[in-house]
Amino acid sequence: MSELPNFAPALPEIFIALSAVALLLLGVFRKDDSTQGISALAIVAMVLAGLLVPAASGGRTLTFSGMFVVDGFSVFAKLLVLLASGFTLAMAVNWLGREKLGRFEFPVLVLIATLGMMLMISANNLIALYLGLELQSLALYVLAAYQRDSGRATEAGLKYFVLGSLASGMLLYGATLIYGFAGSTSFDALAHSFQHGAPVGVIVGVVFVLTGLAFKISAVPFHMWTPDVYEGAPTPVTAFFAAGPKIAAFALLIRIMVGPFGELTHQWSQVVVFISVASMFLGAFGAIAQTNIKRLMAYSSIGHVGYALIGLAVGDQVGIRGVLIYLAIYLFMNVGTFAVILMMRQKGRLMEGIDDLAGFSKTHPMPALALAVFMLSMAGVPPLAGFFGKFYVFMAAVDKGYVTLAIIGVLTSVVSAFYYLRIIKIMYFDEPVEVLDHGTGKGLGLITAVNAILVAGFILAPSFLTSSAGTAAQALFGG
């Protein structure tokens, strides 16, 4: 008889799973009036899991027959994901109350999606990878269609579901090819068997897996769903999509590309270079003509994915460290921006047009200042955090001889500066047409302030993030 597996490394995940089920039960018995309380409890659960994450790891630990791995990399990524989910859920609570959409399933689904992301980050097996990805994606499909009486939201949910399933199908096809040619689904066994090159079938499989994951991080040419889904889904859900799932899918992409396929870097690196360049271009040029701020954020996120992919294309420890720093900074900029977007209300209705921001600085000086900080940071203006995110990625690329990639990155970020600066121009130099509501939630203001301070103050203490990202990247390269 075999022994019980070691549960300790998976303690945060087990805790989240159990609290999701407990909150589900609580919600069913308390009926619909309990959304606020359950959301608060879900945030508490995420905070507690966040405390458990560093405690549960000590070096590289495998459990559940080697399917689940905990190392420095997974700790870093999980903390980012928990932060993203916690912030976005806190932002959603306010919205749920205002729109009278409070249903207790919302926080439970967010919690389960977060669990899926954590399982993705810790996956050390192709099957575990797929199940984590599906757990996360299924919860997200439902959340996209959460506002079920809105035609646009249901359309967004359906679109996301169909295209997401297609991506999952491609990923599965790639996984079967890899399994068929290498004879194992375990990442460690795969890494071992590719030490002396790999058959062509495996390369085809890797490209399919890359395609499936590129869908999830919305990299060009698999980005088509992003603007529609971001626009159609309810704004807090969009904020959630833009933060946590991106980070988790990126972490998974890094783990699988550097881990089992680390020896095949020359084979997949060119693919990553292509999708990186394409994403940067599309992100920069696609956003110029947008009038809806959620669509604009969708194109902006495509662009950011392109920049972060530069680090993966480089494929060494410095590059991965750059990606992790980039993702962390992107998380704070993004959450902050969406908190401001959620404040844009007119007579109680959420506004989404960029023109609605006209005169925002006169009516709401502090949120406008914060949004200006986020926009300048996203454009990559030096003293702010966004500059450093790009800086580390570009430096890694230059060090490894990918100078063209870095130059394209700089050029496209100049192009993208146009639409970020346009928002600032509209806020500060245009006259207000109709005044947006005041006092749209203290919680949102607090989240905005925290993120703005973090983004603006990053330069004062960059070593905290850079060193922890460095440790995380080091853990991946077995150092």
Partner: protein
């Protein structure tokens, strides 16, 4: 000898009912023939020593999938006669594609051979059926090595359930629902009213 006889019995019925599935005029009959096919396939699995697959086939396919089909067929108002129009018109093209597929299958399986090193790379062999039934063998794998995946798959199903309820369940006003607790808790005073009715007057 008896095994061979039973095999041919199951196989013949399976093929015959399979043909009936696509040729039956009444769609309900087609689904019923489908169920018959499933039962015979389950019998074939039993003969091959795969009793777990046989049971799963009956439980999942007959118990759930085929009944679902039956519901769909009965609930949807589809004009099946119109669907059959143009059957002969498409027959040559369809037949040609079928023939091409058949030729491809013959080519693939005709030249099929295992690489000599393939059997060596099989990680865990199936245990001898005379020592361990395959239900037990599957259970051992599922609840030990694949325990983690089994649990996560359960969570995926939970999400599917929550999602379905969240997206489709509506509490509509004016729908009469049975509330057993309220029914049981009714007292005589609440439900019976005694009135004096004058003879010939009515209420």
């Amino acid at each position: 000898m008896i095994q061979a006889l039973v095999f041919y019995l199951f196989a013949a019925v399976a093929v015959a009912s399979g043909v009936m599935v696509i040729s039956a005029r009444n769609p309900v009959h087609a689904v019923l023939f489908l169920i018959l096919t499933f039962f015979n396939a389950a019998g074939l699995f039993l003969l091959a020593g795969a009793e777990f697959l046989a049971m799963v086939l009956v439980v999942v396919y007959v118990g759930a999938v085929a009944v679902l089909f039956l519901f769909v067929v009965m609930l949807l108002d589809i004009n099946y006669l119109r669907l059959r129009e143009g059957f002969l018109q498409y027959l040559p093209t369809g037949g040609l594609i079928g023939l091409i597929l058949l030729a491809e299958l013959v080519l693939v399986f005709g030249g099929w051979s295992f690489a000599p090193e393939a059997p060596l790379s099989v990680g865990s062999r199936t245990p001898d059926p005379s020592v361990m039934t395959n239900t037990e063998a599957l259970g051992r794998l599922l609840y030990t090595d694949y325990f983690y995946l089994f649990q996560v798959a359960g969570l995926v199903l939970l999400v599917a359930m929550i999602g379905t309820i969240l997206l489709t369940l509506r509490t509509r006003a004016g729908v009469r629902k049975q509330n057993i607790a309220a029914q049981v808790a009714r007292t005589k005073a609440q439900s019976v009213e005694i009135r004096k009715v004058p003879s010939g007057g009515g209420i």
